[in-house]
Subunit: 347 residues, 3 copies
Amino acid sequence: MTALPRGNFLEDFKPGRTIRHGTPRTVTDGDIAVYMALTGSREAAQSADTTAKLCGLTRRPLDDWLVFNIAFGKTVGDISHNAIANLGYAEVRFLRPVFAGSTLRSETMVIGLREINTRNAGIVHVRSTCLDETDTPVLSWVRWVMVPKQADGRRIDTQVAPELLPLIPPQDIESHARLGSANALRAWCQATASTKLWDDYALGDGIDHPSGMTIEEADHMSAARLYQNTAQVHFVPKTMVANEAGRRIVYGGHVISICYALSCEGLENRIHVAAVNSGKHTAPVFAGDVLYSKSTILDRQTIRHRSDIGLLRLRLIGSKAHDPEAAGGGLTVLELDYWAVIPRRHG
Amino acid sequence: MTALPRGNFLEDFKPGRTIRHGTPRTVTDGDIAVYMALTGSREAAQSADTTAKLCGLTRRPLDDWLVFNIAFGKTVGDISHNAIANLGYAEVRFLRPVFAGSTLRSETMVIGLREINTRNAGIVHVRSTCLDETDTPVLSWVRWVMVPKQADGRRIDTQVAPELLPLIPPQDIESHARLGSANALRAWCQATASTKLWDDYALGDGIDHPSGMTIEEADHMSAARLYQNTAQVHFVPKTMVANEAGRRIVYGGHVISICYALSCEGLENRIHVAAVNSGKHTAPVFAGDVLYSKSTILDRQTIRHRSDIGLLRLRLIGSKAHDPEAAGGGLTVLELDYWAVIPRRHG
Amino acid sequence: MTALPRGNFLEDFKPGRTIRHGTPRTVTDGDIAVYMALTGSREAAQSADTTAKLCGLTRRPLDDWLVFNIAFGKTVGDISHNAIANLGYAEVRFLRPVFAGSTLRSETMVIGLREINTRNAGIVHVRSTCLDETDTPVLSWVRWVMVPKQADGRRIDTQVAPELLPLIPPQDIESHARLGSANALRAWCQATASTKLWDDYALGDGIDHPSGMTIEEADHMSAARLYQNTAQVHFVPKTMVANEAGRRIVYGGHVISICYALSCEGLENRIHVAAVNSGKHTAPVFAGDVLYSKSTILDRQTIRHRSDIGLLRLRLIGSKAHDPEAAGGGLTVLELDYWAVIPRRHG
């Protein structure tokens, strides 16, 4: 019986190396339904073809985070199979809407490498791209992970610092959404049952999203399996030294999906995520935890040549208590700084 | 941080007021598959295109209760977000089959209002309608809920008693199902593996459906999320004063789905639900409960101008024990009085 | 209240009798998505239309075990409703790929009957066939179950021994998969991210698949419901004398799906299952168990007139520990001896 080689170690991540990940995945209405059942997502444009048409799309696209999680899942076997920690995200760009019937695959380039002081591990930065069946990029992102060295412990000579934007500039952002007329905007607001538009959010505004969601083992494992994510830490209680809890750890992308879905109340007119400036899982989530969300408006920007839609920069905080401060703090699990596209009041 | 206003209170329900609920929802084969996985539904016409064609439909329609639950879910945020109790249903009319690809939305009219003696709450009657993307009604129903007043406690002056039919008259019922020939009926009975037709049920007949189903937290929450139902009581253990159990309460529509699916054995030839005369959740259901069903034939009626199909009026009792009387009683969770369409023996 | 007759007893299984099972089932992209979410399946040809086209199929087919489980589920009510044990499988032949949109039904012939010594039960052999909407067989299999007699206890006169092949001869196996060119093979290997082909496996090779999967009640019940399998032992903790554990027993087909999905690592280029020579559930699986897989190459054969693909005969062992011997043995839950189709290196 030979054990299989499993994933890559620090030595394998040569800066500049590109990895084409396995198992392209056709996405369908089935994935959309399972995603709704697992996350409770109810974004307007993603829920109905009729609503999607109001903002210029041919039919409802997949949820942004469903696309992200499927794209991310493809990279796990090569990038984070041996990861000690998934440290952060940056430069996440949602480039095109993805529709049922598309086939998605991912590829990844190593863009940074740094040994840590103990020399038994290092931090690897990678830029991944998700492409559809025509090889058109639909999503790209940077993440960095801590990866152990293999047993030999040789010193890594080439250390490369990644070039990262602290913020995706709003002038770089485009959107396929288009609210072509005052009538379309009116019908859109009827569909979302909300008239709170881009114009109505002010810098510093906070939104205390009222709903919570209890996490179940069956739910987070089903989500990770839907994404064909193979990281053992989500499926088996005791897998690695780093998993001190001895429990299955909820896949971080599922935490994002849940917290984002909870943040719908108060942001009903959000059309889609345009980009994520930075993201961090600040604590592990386990089955039995109840997650809540809060949002803060960090910025409000226009989009070039567009008067129908605008950008809100939002900070989404996910935590294990509705009022984490009252609960003694330390319960934050997610920090996400992102740009959302939202309709503007018609001139 | 501003907390969001949440749903409506007693003072907001002006009789005659109509509310157009948010977030239209396109339904697909994905929803059908998830519904099967969560409920075990195996109604013949809803399981296969070939079987649906035998009764005159172009393809398999969605399960009646899947449509009901999605339509109902749309109304929760506006109608029952603050409800102390969901007291009952009446005049539920399944008007048209719904197929994958349709987009459903709901609207609701307030048809009754009555303060209760303690004056801190009242009973609101509403009539909701689910419409497809062409604004054609596919389903309508009345329900009544107990809703608290807001803090101010002003007296409600206008009290309106709703006009309700105790029974949907069989002469009002139409059906899109049509078994056009003796051959179609024969093929239908082959598909259901049962020859027990309308003609074979007698008034007062009882059917002790043998199967039970254990309820899991992941299942009932996935069902409520699939329906985009946002009532917190299904997702968070401790949410409201009324939830004395301190546990998540299973969404009532999931209880109906499960009990109805269990009632398939012995009613294999049921084609669809035509109408519900009255419905009541008599006790809350929690994860870990095992549900069972019993049916009684209350009436048998013909449909105008139709000799191929007829109506059975059935009482469906859902309970937490296979033999609730032997178990000491008090275990009933659901009472449903409905009309089902079922083929008649060919003249 | 009349209790319903439930399934068949030993006396009902007359050798030569054919049973047409109820409730044909249309399969869709929804079923594929739910199956992925419940099992984590990531077979290459079943995951993407583009990959399926590389091996000559018009689009991705359903997973072999999804087809098997739906087909099997149809037979449960008539064959194994009263079964004391599901003893084994043989001669499982996957005859044609099944695509979304097909409607499947099953029928079964009794091919063997033998009373056991205690005379209160017997062993029934049946051969079942799954047919699509054109009555074309897509799958056939033999299984045998121990079934109790009814109360009367009359002696069974006719005992018939089934004729069973110990092994499906490789010369009997055909495959719809076709890798038409060296380019197609290259693209296929890019899709699977593996270059390990038929030529690279040697007799006796063992593969220690590294991943495990924890089983949840919600997951195995959702799987059994998706397959419209009505066996109570999967849904209710205490149902029958034979269920000494007093717990829900995981449906054996779900165990096969999980163990097969876990065996993907190391067998990434497997295109589909061609046939199962023998199968056995050696111990019941319960929620909370963590399942692992090991594979051994038993044989390597060519397919008549085909140089693009070949056959591997594999033994798949599923168990409740990654290293069952170290854990004291006795943890094996599944033994499956099957033929898989896999590409050959281009001449």
